[in-house]
Amino acid sequence: MKRREMLRASVLAGAAAALRPSLATAQSAAQASELTPAQSGVDGSKDLAAPGWKPLFLDEHQNETLIVLSDLIIPATDTPGAKEALVNRYIDLVLAAETHETQRAFLNSLGYVDGESMRRSKAAFRYLSREDQDILLHALAYPRFGSGWAGDTNAVADPGHSHFEALKGRIMTAYYSSQIGEKELGWDGAFAHGPYQGCEHPEGEHK
């Protein structure tokens, strides 16, 4: 995820209006159908928070599992977490538009977590105690690899870890691209913060 891509807001409208060339009016206006929604000024951020939201792709159990999982991976601390950022809703929206193969891979990862939960605790992940959820997630997040010696051909990636990373990647993308995520990173909502200052240290004292 490119941080730079996520950090823009509007402050220079006056300057732009002063500079806007007569060319724009001299040419025929672009056909509305040939603008992207963003170029037409559509704000698509409100849809996910709409009352009566229903998942497009996930079933209720999958959706609830995703909420629990996202809340563990990016919890509310002194700042809001993934649950408040509605990452499950964004992930559902994107999944609904993806290929069957990608959808299957996601459900496979989510199902793996439930499978491990059933194997260990005889209950689906969302029904475990927070403590048991944490124990399971820890095992997936910090797997034991082979001996660690270079050239150890028995060092095989833990499939549980791969599934964890796939789910975590989705949740991270959804969280840090949300408005809550932008704030989490400290963005003040402005797009211009003056000229780039660069390094002003003497030689050899860079930090």
Binding site: R3, R4, E5, M6, L7, R8, A9, L12, A15, A16, L19, P21, L23, A24, A26, Q27, S28, A29, A30, E34, L35, T36, P37, A38, Q39, S40, V42, G44, S45, I73, I74, P75, T77, T79, G81, Y90, L93, A97, Y142, T173, Y176, S177, S178, Q179, E184, L185, G186, W187, A190, A192, H193, G194, P195, Y196, Q197, G198, C199, G204, H206, K207
Partner: protein
Amino acid sequence: MAQDPLQQTYDAVVVGSGATGGWAAKQLAEAGLKVALLEAGRAVSPKEFTEHMPAYKLKYRDHSPEVVRTRPVQKQCYACMEYNYEWFVNDLENPYSTPPGKPFTWQRLRVLGGRSLVWGRQSYRMSDNDFKAASRDGYGDDWPISYAELGPYYDIVERYVGISGALEGNEMLPDGQFLPPMKMSCGEVQLRERVKAKFGHTVTIGRAAVLTQNHNGRLACHYCGPCERGCMTFSYFSSPFTTVKDAIASGNCTLLTNAVVSHVDMDTEPNKARGVTYVDRLTRQVKEVRGKAVILCAQALESTRILLNSSTREYPNGLANSSGALGHYLMDHVVGAGASGRLADFKTLPNANEPARPNGIYIPRFRNTPSGNKHSRFIRGYGYQGGAGAGFNFSAEGYGASLKKAVKEGEYEISLGAFGESLARWDNFVEIDHDLKDAWGIPALHINMTHGDNEAALMEDAGAMGAEMLEAAGAKDIRVQAAVEVPGMAIHELGTARMGNDPKKSVLNAFNQAHDVKNLFVMDGASFVSSACQNPTLTMMAVTVRACTHLIDRFRKSEV
């Protein structure tokens, strides 16, 4: 009453409104010539710029299924995104073919300004180490022009465009008419100091077509970051708001948008072009524009496609192709190698509110230079683009509160990515695919290109050298890449209608004029004889201005 734009004969018909077409229209119209400027796409307005729209306002936050469905090729470029994909061609309407196992990615925009709306803005001069490379190492052909001949036109272009950069006195990368350079980060300065000390190589700030001070009626950059989504202060150079605007303001340029040119029309008089035929993009009506001179600036492969599609009984293998060279010697800089790592000693935290510099650093070519040794495994060389700075650590391990904290603590990252010279080879070529047409019924291209052994050797060396330089800068956890990316990925397509002094071996003369058809010109990257390793747009613009200056002179002498 205004004259019907199609009922008159223009002095010049310019096809394409991007970096080169904009310059051709400006130069000719300001000299008093009557110009018709044809653009295949629609007009563009600052109202559709999205550089200040946060990603969370995009419905899919740049994972739009519409982009995946309609731009599967275009989205291979970072600049094609949910914000602006309508500027890029719809791949379903604009097909091309490649041989099995030889992919080529072709990035195109059809909108006023073309790729100048989204380009990377890096602007470097070439030198006689490039123009006369064949004389120096025996490979390929020299350009029919020298640095001394092109230098004054570089000056004109740089002064108008506004290139920010630093003077370095480097033998491979001539200095130019620069606005003040952008600043370097601490990591970049450390790299510059240590690479100079250990290897003697130059690390400089990127030379970018982005204003560091108000210039020619445009405002200095406000460092918001994503130029490729537009710029409300017009601080980066794009043709619609500069050259094309000037051309129209002269009163001598008629802009025809939605004009998808299919071919050049020939006069009844032998070897003389009459104008071009185009298909109206929206109505599909076929129309003709007449001009005393026809100038193709449609982008290297599109200009050549027009010439190949202009075959007649007299010109069975494409127009201006008595040499047989038309379509051949396709080049695109080789990319895929470099190195990245962490400056672990740097404790600077990432800052979401830091000004976003739309530029990086540059390391000019240091292999096979006049003052250096000849490399045993390859000819020519490569340059690096890169950068260093604190970034949020989105690949932090684990989960929970510690993950949130680790993301914000970030990493101080440093990276270098190489652009290598792509040798001009006859075997890399385009031809017409007679079984494939675009949505306007115009035969599409079959693109046949692979990078060769020299390009692979360049990338191998670039990966290893990149790692050595980062190590010298104090980087840890260095990751090396030495791959060869799919051709087209640099988006620096060059050649296919090369210049040359010998009409038997080249398509154009030293003034971009077709050897075979004296009032036909190709003034874009198609004319390049070799690729060098520098980003080519600045040179394309300088070549265009030089060619237009010559053409204006010929008009004045009534030779056209």
